[in-house]
Every structure is written in structure tokens, then in C-alpha cells.
Amino acid sequence: MNFLISLALAIIFGSGAFLILQRGLVRVVVGIALVSNASILFIIAVGLSRGQPPIYPLPEEASVSDPLVQAMALTALVISFGVTALLLAYVYRLYLAHGSVDLQDVSRAERREAEALERGEPLRERGDERQEP
């Protein structure tokens, strides 16, 4: 069981890390979601013990599995869900600004601004690039 869980954890975390390094912004968000889910699986694995479900009334003699990890996993799930939604909103906003969800287009725009900064020009106001297709 321990081996299976650690294998699953490794695969999920690895796929997430791979996706974060991709160019598409949506893939980056999916990667973040996978990585945070790997950490939730890790929390569950931390309390991995055989026992009855910890539901009241508790069985008399049998051992009960750890309920605290489940509370932690639930909390962490809710947090990662909310933050993923926020990230997706940012991706949409970037798509509106640059007309693309490719990291290269976004970083090209950033380089242009960095060069402008080096020439000592002030940063541009919002919406300058919105006209580009």
C-alpha cells in the first residue's frame, strides 16, 4: 500500500511539474492543480492506518483510523480549488490583454517593456496592446 501510494504521488507530482514547465498558460494552471493535489494525497498518506471509519459512535475495541488528516485534506482541497479558480481568472485576463495563452507571446511583451524601461521611458498605461490581434 505504501509503495502504491508513493508511486501514485510521484506520478501526479511529476506530471504536475512537467505541465508547469510548459508554455501554455492553461497547462501551467493544470500543473499547479495537479501538484497541489499531490500534496493532498501526501497528507492522506501521512495518516495511512488501518482501522474503522472514525464516525460516532466509535466501535469499542477496534482501532480507528486517523480523522485529523481527513480534516486537513478537506481544508487543503478547498484552498487549492479557490486558488485554481483565481489563477484561471488571471489566465483569462492575460488572454484578453495579449490575445494568446502562450507564455512566449506574454514574455515577448514583457521584454518590450523591459527595453522601454532601460531607455528610461515611463511604463505604458493599460490597454496599449489590446488592439493587437
Binding site: 508547469i20 498558460l25 501551467v28 499547479i32 501538484v35 497541489s36 499531490a38 500534496s39 501526501f42 497528507i43 501521512v46 495518516g47 485529523l68 488528516v69 486537513m72 481544508t75 487543503a76 484552498i79 479557490g82 486558488v83 483565481l86 489563477l87 488571471y90 489566465v91 485576463r93 492575460l94 490583454a97 495579449h98 506574454v106 511583451a109 514583457e110 517593456e113 524601461l117 532601460e118 528610461g120 511604463l123 505604458r124 498605461e125 493599460r126 490597454g127 496599449d128 496592446e129
Partner: protein, 463 residues
């Protein structure tokens, strides 16, 4: 007791109410300022009590000790909470004077304050993670405030990198729970010495990486310039003066209190990375042009000083680390706010902040540098302590160079197009902050007492 729950709970409740109101209306924004000020007052009163009577503790929901989730205010937490919420209050005032542009801005400032205060005052490792995520989520939104393209990009980068850090921290918390069977920081600290050294070292490494990401230390700094340069001046002040404190506080709490042995094993790594940060930050800052850019890179260097003090450890090292972190928050808050303004006397305020970063008396930065010098002298071995003293001195000299470069470039040259000066109240606020930095430099007693008590709380808890 009531003060403790008020300090953590007040910004929550007010924040939830303000999330439904339109923050662009001046009366709403001023009410939010009043809420933040009331919270600041609560924390100050709580701080006075903690300094007088020692640690204040409360277990939520009247559960018996060891079962319920504990809130625990000691001098270390209070010191960081006080400075962070002070910086947030000043930035909020600044933005309200200049005009809030987004309806959710006041609510997110309150949520950020709630998350930060909760994080500094909690006694539970998992709760630490939850508060950490609350304040991070609020700061992700705040980084994108004003919604210029570059700000949205900065917010995206900031969010992705910091989420990775949070995941690493969550894994470390789960590991601590597995090793010690508890989430209460006191209990973890007691049982840590019985834990096996290999897993404990792994967890310590994960915690170090997670907090270094927040603090923006050298190999983990890559997100920092983009986020600080992109964001609006008061937001940059908050990121650098309040949110970065999570990293400093977390490192101090976990290294000094919870797992001192593991961090002592890695002391050489801490010192080396701290030195690399100082050198890298200072050199990058000298070569930059815009004041915001210079200050962003300078923040990396300043984080290095804090790490060095933590690496030195012992009561002298922790005292220097706490003092330096507090002083740095004040400096950075003042500097980022000043870079956003134009008009008479703003240059003077900026100069006070810049010289405080460089450690020139009578500004408060001098006190921080002095403590750091004293701490470096206690390092074992003449060569090690000489190298550290030289490094701290050189770092100070270079920061003097870049501060003066920026000052002369921006304020000593007649502007071709001076533009309209910003409203007087905003400038008065920045000048008052500069006055505070000077006053604390001339009379550093309160800061010294606070950081002394914080260091004592750390080493007392470790025993």
C-alpha cells in the same frame, strides 16, 4: 484573551462586510482605514500585555488543551504582527488619499491583514498554513490591482511561484505531523529531538525552501523583481514590508523554536546563501536605473542580511534577525511609498529611507546594521567572523552607492516635465513615516526591547 480574538477576528468580520460594499466610494474606504486602525490598536494593546506578562494563549472553542486549536501570542509574533499591520495601514491610507480604483481593494487589504495577523499569532502548524494561504490569496489579487497588463502578468508569475512554495510547505507540515503526531507547535518542538535525523532534515529543507521563496532569497528570487516592479506603489510597499515578513517570521519560528538542531546542521548553507543574496542583490541594484527596480533588487540583498543573522543563531543572532526584519519592513514600506509620489519634500523622505537602508545614522537602519555587526562578531573562528563583518560592511557601502545614485538621478536633477505634485496629505503621510524612521533611529529603545523579548521567547520555547 478578548484582545487576542479581536486582533485575529476583527479584520475578518470587517473584511467580509466590505467585500459587499463598493470600495471606490470614499466613505467605504475611510471606514476600512478605521477598521485597520482599530485592529492595529488591538495588536498594540495585546503587545503591551505580552511584554508585561509574557505569552498570551487561547484555545479556540473551549476545547481542552491539546485538542483544540491554539492561538498563541508571544513577543516574536506580536512584533511581526505590529510592523506588518502598521505597513498595511500606512499603505491603505496612502491609497485612500490618492483614490481607490477598485471596489474590492479595501476588502482585500483587510483579508490580507487578517491572514497575516492570524499567521503570526497562531500556535498550530496547519493553521499556520491556512492563514498563510489566506494572506497569499489576498496578495495575489492585490498584485494585480489597477489591472495594467504588466501588473496582471506580475500577479500571475507571483501566484504560480508562491503556490509552489505553499505546496512545499504543506508537504512539510504533513511530514511534521507524521513524525511527531501533533500539529501544535509547542508539542512538535518538544518531540522534534526524538525524531530521526534524516526525515527531520528533509522537512527542515522543505521549510527553508518554502520560506526562502516568500522572502526572495538569492536562488529563489527570480519572481521578485517582476512582481515588485509591476505592482502599484502601495502594493509594492505591502509585498515588501508586510508579505515578505511571512518568510522572515517563518524561518525564525521554525529554525529558532521548532527545529533548532536541524537548522544548526545547515548553518553553513544559511550563511553561504545569505552572503550570495547580499552580493547579488547589491550588484544588481547598482546596475539598475528605475528607483523601483533598484529597490526590488535591494530587497533581495536585505533578505540576505536576515538569513545571515538566522544562520548565526543563538540569542544574539535571533535578536539581530528580528530587529533587522522589522527595520527592513519599515524602510521598504517608506521607500516604495515615496517612489510613487511627486512633489516637494518627497525627495527628503526618500533620502531618509535610502540612507536607512544603507545604515547611516541617525536613521533606524543604523541600529539594525549595528546589531548585525555585533552578531557577526560572535561567530566562532576569527576568519569566519572577519569574513562576515567585511561582507556586512561592503554590503552597506554598496547599498549607500545605489541609494545615492537613485536619489541623485531622481531628485537632484531639475525635471524637464515636473508635472503636478501629488496631494499634500499623501506627502505628509510619507514624511511622517520618514520621521518615524528617524525617531526610532535616535531612540531605538522600544525596538530593542521588542526584539530582545522576541529572541528570549524563541530560545525560551526551544528549551
Amino acid at each position: 484573551m478578548i484582545l487576542l480574538s479581536l486582533s485575529v477576528g476583527l479584520p475578518w468580520v470587517i473584511g467580509a462586510v466590505f467585500a459587499m460594499l463598493n470600495g471606490r466610494r470614499p466613505w467605504v474606504a475611510w471606514l476600512a482605514v478605521a477598521g485597520l486602525a482599530a485592529n492595529f490598536l488591538c495588536i498594540s494593546l495585546l503587545g503591551a500585555r505580552v511584554l508585561r506578562e509574557g505569552q498570551v494563549e487561547m484555545v479556540a472553542g473551549d476545547w481542552p488543551e491539546g485538542i483544540g486549536i491554539a492561538l498563541r501570542a508571544d513577543a516574536l509574533g506580536i512584533a511581526f504582527a505590529l510592523v506588518s499591520s502598521g505597513v498595511i495601514l500606512a499603505s491603505m491610507l496612502y491609497e485612500v488619499i490618492l483614490g481607490v480604483r477598485s471596489r474590492t481593494f479595501p476588502a482585500f487589504m483587510l483579508f490580507l491583514n487578517a491572514g497575516l495577523v492570524g499567521l503570526f499569532l497562531t500556535g498550530d502548524a496547519f493553521n499556520f498554513y491556512v492563514f498563510f494561504e489566506i494572506s497569499m490569496a489576498a496578495s495575489f489579487v492585490l498584485t494585480g490591482y489597477r489591472e495594467r497588463d504588466q501588473q496582471v502578468r506580475a500577479a500571475f508569475i507571483f501566484a504560480v511561484i508562491n503556490l509552489l512554495g505553499s505546496v512545499i510547505f504543506l508537504i512539510a507540515v504533513a511530514g511534521l505531523y507524521h513524525l511527531t503526531g501533533s500539529l501544535d507547535m509547542e508539542v512538535i518542538a518538544q518531540r522534534m529531538s526524538d525524531a530521526g535525523s534524516a526525515p527531520a532534515l528533509l522537512i527542515a529543507t522543505a521549510i527553508f525552501v518554502a520560506f526562502s521563496l516568500k522572502l526572495g532569497l538569492f536562488p529563489f528570487h527570480f519572481w521578485l523583481p517582476a512582481a515588485y516592479i509591476g505592482s502599484h506603489a502601495p502594493v509594492a510597499a505591502i509585498l515588501s514590508g508586510a508579505v515578505a515578513n511571512i518568510g522572515g517570521y517563518g524561518l525564525l519560528r521554525f529554525s529558532g523554536h521548532i527545529m533548532p538542531e536541524q537548522f544548526e546542521t545547515g548553518a553553513v548553507v544559511l550563511l553561504a546563501l545569505g552572503s550570495a543574496s547580499i552580493v547579488y542583490g547589491a550588484l544588481q541594484a547598482v546596475s539598475r536605473f528605475m528607483p523601483v527596480e533598484v529597490m526590488a533588487y535591494s530587497a533581495i540583498g536585505q533578505a540576505g542580511y536576515i538569513l545571515i543573522a538566522i544562520g548565526i543563531a543563538g540569542s544574539v543572532g535571533y535578536e539581530a534577525a528580528v530587529l533587522y526584519a522589522l527595520v527592513n519592513s519599515l524602510n521598504k514600506g517608506l521607500l516604495f511609498l515615496a517612489t510613487g509620489l511627486r512633489g516637494p519634500l518627497v525627495g527628503a523622505a526618500f533620502a531618509v529611507g535610502a540612507f536607512s537602508v544603507a545604515g547611516v545614522p541617525p536613521a533606524v537602519g543604523f541600529v539594525g546594521k549595528l546589531e548585525l555587526f555585533l552578531a557577526s562578531l560572535t561567530v566562532g573562528g576569527v576568519a569566519g567572523s572577519a569574513a562576515l563583518v567585511t561582507l556586512v560592511f561592503l554590503g552597506g557601502a554598496v547599498s549607500f552607492v545605489y541609494s545615492f545614485q537613485v536619489y541623485s538621478r531622481i531628485y537632484l536633477r531639475p525635471r524637464e516635465n515636473p508635472g503636478k505634485p501629488d496631494p499634500a496629505p499623501a506627502r505628509v503621510l510619507v514624511i511622517l513615516l520618514a520621521g518615524l524612521v528617524l525617531a526610532l533611529g535616535i531612540w531605538p529603545e522600544p525596538l530593542l526591547v521588542l526584539s530582545d523579548a522576541a529572541a528570549a521567547a524563541l530560545s525560551g520555547g526551544a528549551g
